[in-house]
Point group: C2
Chain length 277, copies 2
């Protein structure tokens, strides 16, 4: 995992405008938003899916970077004062605190745009693949995907329902997990069956990730913050834990019979669940 | 022109999530930002470039919609309180005034994402083209293009210089004009020479457009607004008018010898200039 993380960090750094590129403030903000970053979970899933499909991780490197850049943009925009109004992320000032709101909006826009630019550079030799990669990422990230999930998240935080939880978890979180593995698999020309099994895996994993996140968040003190939608608003912690276990179990079952080595994917699923076990 | 505008409006409407699509507030905001819209100048340039290159406008329809969606997103984000803080656009409340800031940020994000999704649907039969279209639009719209121009615009509005004007006009405005004609020409498989001539045309036209916009803006009362970068900060109105004439003349010269009918492009250039003559 840490080897994979280092691989992604190096590739991501090379995708970003080099330090000092004009406009320097924008370049700084983009690099600050992406580097050194967190667990790189989505990028690692993308690479692991390529291998589980029987391909080489290297062939999914562009796709992994695109997914990670896209994830970084969602964090920058989600942290804005008009959204979650977060001033810290991973212990550091958020982008808008450090660079101002205007640059934060624009740096997020630039990271989103860069995600598609990076995808368009994938596999020069097989250009037909690019249309599919761009389409998959755009649909997952767009109004019917991640952005739609974020809108519903904000809209339903004050009066949460189980239906809202299901919609927000699916679109805000699981859609990008699903896109991450699909892009990795498409980049290595996986069969439709493999793609479907990996999609099922990632969807369950994404939902389980959000459930365990809510359980972990509930145990931290969060006084004075804006209300945030949590599955614990509509179920007990024991029920949430059982749900996460069930989702992880189903996810693992979906990757029982893949052409390549699925053990890294299984390990990721187990580790996520173990955060709350 | 009005026929072309109607064609684009119909295509754009079909690209957007249908009215009522969930999340409805996001769908409403996206459609409000795009429809009925303004002159559709960039989309019309894209279609006219396809024809000037000897191709069919129809083959550039997806590209024209993508450029227009991208333009619409820049307007939504530029109007935000943390940017230009505009409350009216074309006589109507801006998106953030009508739907709130969070939805405005997200609707802009969704329009940007949709631009790439629409491009990925261009010409199913010639997928190799899509990588090029996506790359062209992403580079033009990204940190070294439109977004970079907007960052410099904000940064230099308080202390304008000629160098800042040149950078901002080139990137904030001309880069998207240039991308519009290039996408139109690429969509109909224009030769490199045609592409180069159309790029020169659109670059000059984009700069001239911004110069004439500044001249027109200066004649309107703008008391109490945030300072905005204008070429009239560094030159007289007569100098600006001469610059616009010179740019338009050079632009027209670049399209003197194209394979198809360049007269619509020439007419657009003449009309833009005539706004200040």
């Amino acid at each position: 995992m840490s080897e994979r993380k280092a691989f992604i960090e190096a590739r991501l750094s090379a995708c970003l405008p080099p330090p000092g590129a004009r406009p320097e403030r924008l370049t700084d903000a983009m690099r600050y938003a992406v580097m050194p970053g967190g667990k790189r979970l989505r990028a690692i899933l993308c690479l692991a899916a390529a291998e589980a499909a029987g391909g080489r991780a290297e062939d999914a490197a562009h796709a992994a970077c695109a997914v990670e850049l896209l994830h970084a943009y969602t964090l920058v925009h989600d942290d804005l004062p008009c959204m979650d109004d977060d001033v810290l992320r991973r212990g550091l000032p958020t982008v808008h605190v450090k660079y101002g709101e205007a640059v934060a909006v624009l740096a997020g826009d630039a990271l989103l745009t860069l995600a598609f630019e990076v995808l368009a550079r994938t596999h020069e030799a097989r250009p037909g693949m690019i249309a599919r990669l761009v389409s998959e990422l755009a649909v997952a990230a767009g109004a019917a995907g991640v952005i739609g999930g974020q809108v519903e998240d904000i809209a339903s935080a004050a009066a949460p329902t189980r239906a809202a939880i299901d919609y927000v978890f699916q679109h805000k979180t699981a859609d990008l997990f699903r896109a991450a593995v699909r892009l990795g698999a498409i980049a290595v020309q996986a069969s439709d069956e493999t793609l479907e099994n990996l999609s099922l895996f990632a969807n369950g994993l994404g939902l389980a990730f959000q459930v365990t996140d809510d359980i972990l968040d509930a145990s931290e003190s969060k006084s004075g913050e804006k209300p945030e939608l949590s599955c614990l608003d509509v179920m007990s912690e024991a029920e949430a834990r059982a749900w996460a276990r069930q989702l992880t179990c189903a996810a693992r079952a979906a990757i029982a019979d893949l052409p390549g080595d699925a053990s890294p994917l299984a390990t990721i699923a187990d580790r996520l669940l173990s955060r709350v076990e």
